[in-house]
Symmetry: C2
């Protein structure tokens, strides 16, 4: 089982990277969990133009990675409890989560995903969403494997 | 304005501490944001007995700190958007957030708060809830002071 988390970020935070690495390591007994960071000159340039250009650049950067069961993160998406989140990842062998950049996603790009979920009604900074998602994936794997972490 | 975040934790994570310190520093222009960690022998012992004993020990440890506008975090609490969260903290000068230990809170203790909120329908690890809360407080302060961080 492989779970990929695709995100767009220009620069990373050492603290976030540290937490992500911890979850990747802990999850390794259940799944190959990967942190894939995408950033390029087109995104950097588009972000200085406007929101639409930025969103289109995110779509272009992410589209080649869209295989398997694709889940986008969007504040307007479906809110789940941890047990439903766990069920969602239980039956797939190639799951890919996509976290948008500073301007979110095009509506059109969201329709290409099998699922669009929201981590919270609160708006999270990109790095917070990333940490929350990694913990939730690890929690979901523990629930599915009856590991006591989630108790 | 002072905002205190009271949490129960036996040992801390360097990555979480690092992120919390960043938000405390960034928030300092708007509020005195404080991270108060409570842990004692009674809590350690109670957690080996059962959930009820643990919850009672959390209540006992937190009660002396209950002043001002008190907000408890509970997965069954009210879910807010970031703008409502910002409004909640806009008019108070002494705000205190309480994050429970591994077993959550007694229902009785929750009724003593002005507000009980949920960060998400997902269950978060204690350290994740803490990071999310600190970012949300900083975001709320930025919204209230028209700082562009939240855009």
């Amino acid at each position: 089982m492989r779970i990929g988390v695709y995100s767009i970020e220009k620069s990373s935070s050492g603290f976030v990277d540290g937490m992500v690495k911890e979850y990747v390591k802990q999850a390794s007994r259940y799944a190959k969990l990967e942190d894939i960071v995408v950033f390029n000159k087109e995104i950097a340039k588009a972000q200085t133009v406007d929101a639409l250009a930025a969103k289109e650049a995110y779509t272009k950067a992410f589209e080649p990675h869209m295989k398997g069961f694709c889940v986008a993160l969007d504040v307007q998406g479906e809110t789940l409890e941890s047990t439903s989140f766990a069920k969602m990842i239980a039956s797939e062998s190639d799951i890919r989560f996509f976290i948008g950049g500073a301007y979110g996603f095009c509506a059109d790009f969201l329709t290409k995903h099998q699922k669009v979920i929201s981590l919270s009604r609160l708006t999270y900074a990109h790095k917070i969403a990333k940490v929350v998602l990694f913990e939730q994936i690890y929690r979901g794997l523990c629930i599915n494997h009856h590991h006591p972490y989630h108790k």
